[in-house]
């Protein structure tokens, strides 16, 4: 067989009809006039486009068959190119078919000319490019999809990066809620987080117009959000119609918000769709304003977002838990410390509730069954309903079990915890929790711990109070004993407990008659505080009373106390100042065991410290315990002051200065009445706020012959003046009749000064001084007010008349005020 001659057509074994070839060629043929009018068309073209031959021949131009875009291209490119080049190749046109379809084609055309070069005919082949165009469009779509996917991936990467940096649930929520917009073109989104303690979904963040107009949703609801959270399945509601079938409420909301597609994505720690429902931590909802079908690829990315967000939430929850645990631990530790600072019960209870509000609760109350009325400390507000609270409190006291919930579940508005210590319910701690605190399992454990610590702290405070009360009672009973009284001396004592210190101190004093002529006075300070110190001082005091005798004397007393201390260890290094005074001779023997030196003010001259007769504190091992005593004679009118170091020592002052100030003040008050003198000294030296106990005993030997008083211009004060004056007169054994007379005259004179002298001056003062001699009593009443003639006032006139009647001599001196001097001769001298 020879090779076929390719220059010739092969003869096919069947009849190849050229016209059949033309009509049914695999491409369309068109022959047109130069203006495009179709003059010939093959069957293939007609089949493709659906036109009848008669519709086209002589009726239409080629360009009439093109889409409007194609017509423009025909005009601007195809026509001019054909005219220039006589041929155009592979021009893409969409041919409009008879039924309106577009047929994508590729068109080649040649222009035939006559001998003169005039355009004669255009021959056009039309290739069906449907497949090719589809392919091109696929390529384009694929590229767009790739771009969109890339963008989603970028958005997702950014979200993942943001999530990694978000340490709290709220920050995670805020990062996640931003994703659907850029990633999928969503119009708005909102995120709910599961609050398993409260069994609900709580809205944490949203962006754009609301997707679903819902706030917190209980998990048990049959709302779409709750269902998604329960099932853990991604749910796409593609249209309102779908929503109407599945979630009617959602459909309404979609109508209202203009959303046409809503995606509900569970946020899970595990990829969704597994055999076991994954742990759902929240739900992200986002919506589109159009009906939007999400591609598989997009859905994959959506699920990935849910998974990433779920993991981030899980992580954040762990962080949150760790932080919460840490802050709870810190709070508990700090609370214990703060309570320890305050030993007393009620202040401690107040401190407790003040720490709890507002950090833990908005309102807190401690109720304790202490004493007949109980004790309540509360803070914050408003308090819960009193009936409900009372019911709860009663139940908790009866059961000893915390009450944190009611029939409907957790009840953060009225939580009641028992305060127990040593297996006993002391009372309750009631709370109305802050809105952002939850009565979760963790919180319940925390509250339990808090109540436990509080119970112990309050029980300790209660025991402390009890002991303190016992010690105070003991001390008071020891100090309040009857002091001896005699016309030959006057005693005045003062005890002032420290304002800061809560336990009783060991300061004490005592005075007693050793025999009819011998007065013993003692003051001391036991080391330590509280019930031990109070007991020890009682023992020492009793020992001194038992040991005192005419033969013992002060030095002997201290020697015996040293022996006593060997047996009563708690009295070791206690200090004592002890003196015995002969009431007939005024001779005083004294000894100081490590105690502050007594201060003596004689009838004349400045006061002085008695620095002799000194030795070391009782039972001292390092000090000089050879006991010595010293003697001094007290002149009538002398005043002896025994005191404890609280009077002298002040942080802001050296002890030497303290001694100086005390001596000066004591001297200044030389003529002041003995009553109130120690208190006045304490006021001047220490003030109201002192850190140590102060104990003082002042002995006036051979009583004062002079009394002075200064009172305000207030009638009420006259009674007090009378009381002092009566006592002073009694001390000097002034007869009853004279006493009544002097009291009446003095009252009338003072009333006169107040009613007349100070009629216009309520702050004026009236000075009263009284002196007594064996023969007479003399009273002087002076004011600095205006004098008004008394005759104008019958009543006052009667007052003055009374004065003249009861007193033997009366003199008025009016110069810069009025001074009335009155004298009454005592009965003995009449």
């Amino acid at each position: 067989m020879s090779e076929p001659d390719v220059t010739d057509d092969l003869t096919v074994p069947w009849d190849e009809d050229p016209s059949d070839l033309y009509e049914h060629a695999p491409c369309g043929y068109l022959t047109t006039l130069p203006d495009g009018t179709i003059v010939r068309v093959n069957e293939t073209f007609l089949t493709w486009t659906g036109y009848r031959r008669a519709d086209l021949i002589g009726q239409r131009r080629f360009r009439d068959l093109l889409s409007s875009g194609g017509q423009i291209y025909h005009e601007t490119h195809y026509g001019p190119l054909l005219a220039m080049q006589d041929a155009v190749y592979e021009v893409a046109f969409d041919v409009m078919c008879a039924d309106g379809r577009r047929l994508p084609t590729l068109v080649n055309s040649t222009l035939g000319r006559d001998l003169e070069g005039r355009s004669r005919v255009i021959r056009t082949t039309v290739f069906n490019a449907t497949e090719r165009r589809g392919y091109e469009q696929e390529l384009l779509a694929a590229r767009r999809a790739a771009e969109a996917s890339e963008k989603r991936v970028r958005v997702l990467q950014q979200i993942v990066a943001d999530l990694a940096a978000a340490p709290t649930e709220v920050e995670v929520a805020e990062a996640v809620v931003q994703a659907p917009g850029p990633a999928f073109g969503a119009a708005g989104s909102r995120i709910w987080l599961v609050d398993s303690d409260r069994e609900l979904l709580a809205v944490r963040a949203s962006t754009g117009p609301d997707v679903i107009a819902l706030d917190d949703v209980p998990l048990s609801w049959t709302r779409p959000v709750a269902e998604v959270a329960q099932r853990g399945e991604l749910t796409v509601v593609g249209s309102i119609m779908v929503a109407e079938q599945q979630f009617p409420e959602l459909a309404e909301e979609m109508w209202a918000s203009g959303r046409r597609t809503v995606v509900l994505l569970p946020l899970t720690t595990m990829p969704t769709g597994g055999p076991h429902a994954a742990h759902v931590l929240g739900v992200l909802a986002f919506g589109f304003n159009e009906e939007r079908e999400l591609s598989e690829n997009e859905l994959r990315v959506v699920r990935l977002l849910g998974h990433q967000a779920g993991q981030a939430l899980d992580r954040a929850r762990l962080y949150d838990d760790a932080r919460r645990r840490e802050s709870r631990a810190a709070f508990l530790a700090e609370t214990s410390r703060a309570l320890d600072e305050i030993p007393r019960l009620l202040p401690r209870a107040h401190r407790l509730v003040e720490r709890i509000v507002p950090e833990v609760a908005e309102w807190a109350a401690v109720r304790l069954h202490v004493g007949p009325a109980g004790l309540i400390a509360d803070a914050g507000g408003p308090a819960p309903d009193p009936d409900r609270l009372a019911e709860r409190v009663a139940a908790v006291i009866a059961s000893g079990v915390p009450s944190l919930r009611d029939e409907d579940g957790l009840d953060p508005d009225c939580a009641v915890l028992p305060l127990t210590a040593r297996g006993k319910v002391l009372g309750t701690l009631s709370l109305r929790m802050a809105a952002d605190r939850r009565t979760s399992a963790g919180e319940a454990a925390f509250l339990g711990e808090l109540a436990g610590r509080a119970g112990l702290a309050l029980e300790n405070a209660r025991l402390y109070e009890q002991e303190r009360a016992i010690a105070r009672t003991l001390q008071r009973s020891l100090l309040a004993g009857q002091l001896p009284a005699d016309s030959r001396f006057v005693l005045q004592t003062h005890y002032q407990p420290a304002t800061q210190e809560l336990e009783v101190g060991g300061d004490w004093y005592d005075a007693f008659l050793v025999d009819s002529d011998r007065l013993a006075v003692a003051i001391g300070d036991v080391v330590g505080r509280g019930i031990d110190a109070a007991t020890t001082m009682g023992q020492l005091r009793s020992a001194i009373r038992a040991l005192a005798s005419k033969e013992t004397g002060p030095a002997g007393m201290l020697e015996r106390l040293d022996q006593f201390v060997e047996r009563v260890e708690s009295a070791r290094v206690a200090t004592v100042a002890y003196a015995e005074i002969s009431l007939s001779s005024g001779e005083m023997t004294y000894a100081c065991a490590g105690h502050m030196p007594p201060l003596l003010a004689g009838p004349v001259g400045p006061p002085r410290y008695l620095m002799d007769g000194r030795s070391a504190p009782l039972g001292s091992r390092a000090g000089r315990t050879h006991r010595i005593e010293s003697r001094i004679r007290l002149l009538p009118g002398s005043r002896l002051l025994l005191y404890t170091d609280g009077l002298i020592e002040r942080r802001t002052r050296t002890i030497d200065r303290g001694f100086g100030v005390l001596a000066r003040e004591y001297g200044r008050l030389r003529d002041a009445p003995l009553e109130g003198l120690p208190a006045a000294l304490a006021d001047t030296l220490i003030g109201r706020d002192h850190t140590d106990d102060i104990c003082m005993l002042c002995l006036a030997f051979g009583t004062d012959e002079r009394m002075e008083r200064s009172i305000g211009a207030d009638p009420v004060q006259i009674a007090r003046l009378r009381k002092d004056l009566r006592a002073w007169l009694k001390l000097h054994a002034v007869d009853e009749e004279s006493t009544d007379a002097v009291l009446l005259a003095c009252s009338e004179a003072v009333a006169n000064a107040i009613e007349h002298g100070y009629r216009d001056d309520p702050f004026g003062t009236v000075n009263v001084s009284a002196t007594v001699t064996p023969e007479a009593v003399e009273i002087r009443v002076a004011d600095r007010g205006a004098w008004r003639t008394a005759r104008a006032d019958v009543a006052r006139g009667r007052g003055l008349q009374l004065i003249r009647q009861v007193m033997d001599q009366v003199a008025f001196d009016r110069g810069g005020g009025t001074t009335v001097t009155m004298r009454r001769t005592r009965r003995e001298a009449r």
Binding site: D714, P715, V716
Partner: protein
């Protein structure tokens, strides 16, 4: 101290038709007006009045003024009055010094009651 008058300082009771006012403690410028008000508030149409001053430990001119006014008022109404002051003591001293009529002063409560109830 205040000018409040305690129950223990002014008490009211009856002996027969007579209204008995028992005063106690100190009566002076500071509390006399309040005591006076209390007595006046209580004196409504009494047939006779006895004022027992035996427990009064002090009486000044303001107290005298009060009693003087009281006696004046009751005399105007024709109501019998006696001031019971005991044999001695601060009240008697002051009232005697002020020269109160002897017929007003009594030493014995029961006898004074018989006097005014006749």
């Amino acid at each position: 101290m205040s000018d409040q008058v305690g129950e223990e300082q002014v008490r009211f009771s009856k002996i027969g038709d007579a209204e008995l006012v028992t005063l106690a403690g100190e009566i002076d410028l500071a509390n006399a007006p309040a005591i006076g008000q209390q007595i006046v508030a209580h004196m409504t149409e009494a047939g006779a009045v006895l004022i027992d001053l035996t427990a009064v430990s002090f009486l000044d001119s303001a107290g005298v003024r009060l009693l003087d006014a009281l006696v004046g008022d009751l005399d105007d109404h024709g109501t019998a009055i006696r001031l019971v002051v005991g044999e001695s003591g601060p009240a008697r001293m002051t009232l005697q010094l002020c020269a109160f009529r002897e017929d007003l002063l009594a030493t014995d409560l029961e006898r004074a009651a018989d006097d005014v109830n006749e």
